[in-house]
Symmetry: D4
Amino acid sequence: MKAAVIMGSASDLPVLEKTIETLKAFGVEVDAHVMSAHRTPDSAHTFAASAEENGIEVIIAAAGKAAHLAGVLAAYTTLPVIGLPIMSSTMDGLDSLLSTVQMPPGIPVATVAINGSENAALLAIQILSLKYVELKEKLKEHKKNMAEKVIEADNNLQKEL
Amino acid sequence: MKAAVIMGSASDLPVLEKTIETLKAFGVEVDAHVMSAHRTPDSAHTFAASAEENGIEVIIAAAGKAAHLAGVLAAYTTLPVIGLPIMSSTMDGLDSLLSTVQMPPGIPVATVAINGSENAALLAIQILSLKYVELKEKLKEHKKNMAEKVIEADNNLQKEL
Amino acid sequence: MKAAVIMGSASDLPVLEKTIETLKAFGVEVDAHVMSAHRTPDSAHTFAASAEENGIEVIIAAAGKAAHLAGVLAAYTTLPVIGLPIMSSTMDGLDSLLSTVQMPPGIPVATVAINGSENAALLAIQILSLKYVELKEKLKEHKKNMAEKVIEADNNLQKEL
Amino acid sequence: MKAAVIMGSASDLPVLEKTIETLKAFGVEVDAHVMSAHRTPDSAHTFAASAEENGIEVIIAAAGKAAHLAGVLAAYTTLPVIGLPIMSSTMDGLDSLLSTVQMPPGIPVATVAINGSENAALLAIQILSLKYVELKEKLKEHKKNMAEKVIEADNNLQKEL
Amino acid sequence: MKAAVIMGSASDLPVLEKTIETLKAFGVEVDAHVMSAHRTPDSAHTFAASAEENGIEVIIAAAGKAAHLAGVLAAYTTLPVIGLPIMSSTMDGLDSLLSTVQMPPGIPVATVAINGSENAALLAIQILSLKYVELKEKLKEHKKNMAEKVIEADNNLQKEL
Amino acid sequence: MKAAVIMGSASDLPVLEKTIETLKAFGVEVDAHVMSAHRTPDSAHTFAASAEENGIEVIIAAAGKAAHLAGVLAAYTTLPVIGLPIMSSTMDGLDSLLSTVQMPPGIPVATVAINGSENAALLAIQILSLKYVELKEKLKEHKKNMAEKVIEADNNLQKEL
Amino acid sequence: MKAAVIMGSASDLPVLEKTIETLKAFGVEVDAHVMSAHRTPDSAHTFAASAEENGIEVIIAAAGKAAHLAGVLAAYTTLPVIGLPIMSSTMDGLDSLLSTVQMPPGIPVATVAINGSENAALLAIQILSLKYVELKEKLKEHKKNMAEKVIEADNNLQKEL
Amino acid sequence: MKAAVIMGSASDLPVLEKTIETLKAFGVEVDAHVMSAHRTPDSAHTFAASAEENGIEVIIAAAGKAAHLAGVLAAYTTLPVIGLPIMSSTMDGLDSLLSTVQMPPGIPVATVAINGSENAALLAIQILSLKYVELKEKLKEHKKNMAEKVIEADNNLQKEL
């Protein structure tokens, strides 16, 4: 099972590290690339158009400002495309969010929170788990671990107060 | 293959008709329900917690205002949950969008555009197509049809001008 | 008299310290917990559903981003629930505010300002003062102290200028 | 048991009818007034300052635009004050919401959704129920009725589809 | 001299009529097309990539929601691209504006006001006037006419008052 | 000639220093106070109601968040009241701006830019200059000085480039 | 005593009728003009530069969208300039408000609410009242009338309920 | 070939350095000035009105807050005017963006992203390239270089992962 993680700029990598790390922790092969909807549009199109035959099953696209990357990839594939809006230096990420989520009818982009790098990976894994049932167990385990961390934090709080 | 379409209020049905219609047109069985994160939380939880064993493979949740429905369902399942923010009478849908998309780490919601009812269905179908390969062909057909309609509109425009 | 202070994440504690401190200063017993609407939904429900019989009379719920915690607790109790929107790293708290305050008809959440930790406590105390009349005197005293501090600041200003 | 319902302008009455009706349905005596923070500030102050001794136990204040009414009343009383932001012809209610909810430390206003007239009443009733335990049963009944209406809507949906 | 007017959907035509009419009134040949960044991306790319050799000297691109059209065309040409954000049914055009104007470094889009259809044409004509000096005179005439209309409106006002 | 400069909190003083300094530089007597619409409402009312007879001719009111101060003072006087919205830690000053400027019909507040401390003073001086004609000359001088500084900056730029 | 009422477009007249009517009701002579910061900039400058010597003592400037009119007039005069942001077909007036109020240091514009046509006039009258003391009495009368209307509305409400 | 770069304040120079540098790198002569729409309006008008006869072919105008500079220059010339909104200390640049882009019909401003200094230059160069064909080759070279940098970044990413 393989997911693509596409970023509009190398400067987005720090945000995406958690995405790549989470995918790998679940055993998902990651094909990561810097590709730009505006600077290397042909690479982006070729990548998206051939993604399916290259074994990719879900695409995560991260971009900031007028974030067209996810929409542009989605135009060239019928694979599910997850959009990850990146907060840039102005507008607090609202521009990235609206540019990613407000897609016109026909070409959906599955948008997660601004800078929501872990959730982009988890959504990809949930999608992959439809086909790769072994992921279901891992997702349940992950959910349980998250719950345990909250309970532990609550226990610590009881001691502190 | 089966998708759930959950709406927070019966008044959301007009927006969701396109969602249900699109899913059915692709041959996806639809389990539609009115359920409220706030008024019938237990039904919502029971539904989400047992969705997988009831054969549901993807959930679409539509709600307006402080739209908690998608997040609340996502808390109880590891199935992919698609959030469809509904525009209500104030705030132009911004409240629904932010309440749906800005999920904290660990519990993703795949958010589509405000009132993006057709895209919610298409995203569900793309997700299902990972497992049900017959959907891939239909999605490609749909994409081709959309393209043809744009070309037809362009042809009409040439005649008009 | 007892108030619950529920936070969605241990990272919210620094904001909530003023809340807990204010409640205690007024002699209100505080039951503080880390609980997540999304990661430990069952604990949250159990807590809210049994809050009344456990002697809790008002609940303060603090959360950021798509802040569902207050609404989710309010779904399970008829106790007054105070929502405290927490500012997170993006969107300047607007997402938390709208997710907390824009509740649909039937399930109110008494929302205070973004990061308004002291006011969450004071509102809880005002609510409790309906039943515990000794709090009324303390609230009036507190109001008088606030006024005196303003007057003192004004006096200092007169000296400075 | 008695609640005050104060509106900044007679034109707010259509929105507030649901508030008054809900309070009365729960057996709460209603003292309703048109009072303006800006046009009749002295009446507003006198009203708030004497509300407690006049038997009022909670105040609902509704206003639009730069909505100062709830804050101005809260300055003169230690009773809980519920702010109901009214949507006016511009800004979609965002001005009313921020003017009502973003209160500075020391003077809380329990804010409900823009035009959330029913919730303003329900919040007042929840607050009163701390002292008037007969309201608790009615609130639970109301919650049950809401749930039943959702279930009925769901049943109707099953027939329609 | 020739300008292209590209719209993302045939439904944008009513807004663009003023654009086309204004260009023609200045004697600019218009090549108008319906083309979608998402539904017919290849046509869009082919069009943009060959626009220059087809004699087009400036491109106006109009789209709503997550408006990627102008940016996508700009990726394939070094001709100046004018972005015209279209107001759709939600978000009051803010989504279209930010998606069009907030372009990352390297690929500018010359953005005009939301639904600013006449200005899109006038900007194109100003740009063309660098090369086609006969347009300069017409632009000055147009400016004079606008001024005269304002003066006439002022004269009418003096009579009315 | 005398202007009042009222701030909602002593923490606003750093922003207001430029206001006070500018007023004094123009020879306007300044009556500066810390007064709160919410914590010392009676002082605020008494101040506003007696401002005119105390020789004050224009009032500058600065406050942040749900900034009611200017409106509350304006309710008690027919002197012109200038509102200066202060940026607080959240919402980038939008809450202060809307709370100050969106006054309902009947009670205007002359609002200047967020943190526009110098302009608040200059507006007060322009208003006073209607009566105190000696200020007119100083304002023209000030305008000339500003122009000269811009010209000097331009001259410096020419040397740098 | 004389006030100027300048509008950017004849289409703003319906909003400004209340402004002109209010000024006249207070006995203020009104010099009303359609003038555009962009289409007739020279008329606007000449008007502003000569306003003072033409006996004008305060200027009201109303404009929508990128509303530069008030700022442009303020650049040419030291008379107080009141900015009245007009709501246009998009952006709910936020563009007009920000373009009017967010003036840089040195050139204040006294901004009133979006479409706040009556308040623009009342603010002008308050400013004029510094010099024309007969207006003070009328303003107090007006304030009293407003209060009486609120009291009457309250009396009517008591009968209705 | 010559472009003007006008900034509202010397403090905008750091943002504009990239603009000037990019223009010069393409061989465009730069006429840079500090000029204020509000503080030196006459210089601004004279400059714009005589720009064409002084050999200027495109104007870039950068300003923050209520950014009137681009619009004011556009009022005095039929040359294309590029507006560059500058982010100031409040409102995250939204005020500058809306004040620049939302121009009324008749006077377009070609707006680029908030602080989009490089794009302002590239847009000017694209416009100039209509007349100066030697720029076309350089623009294509620049586009190729940008693409190569993205490809290099992608290559580096492949090594890192």
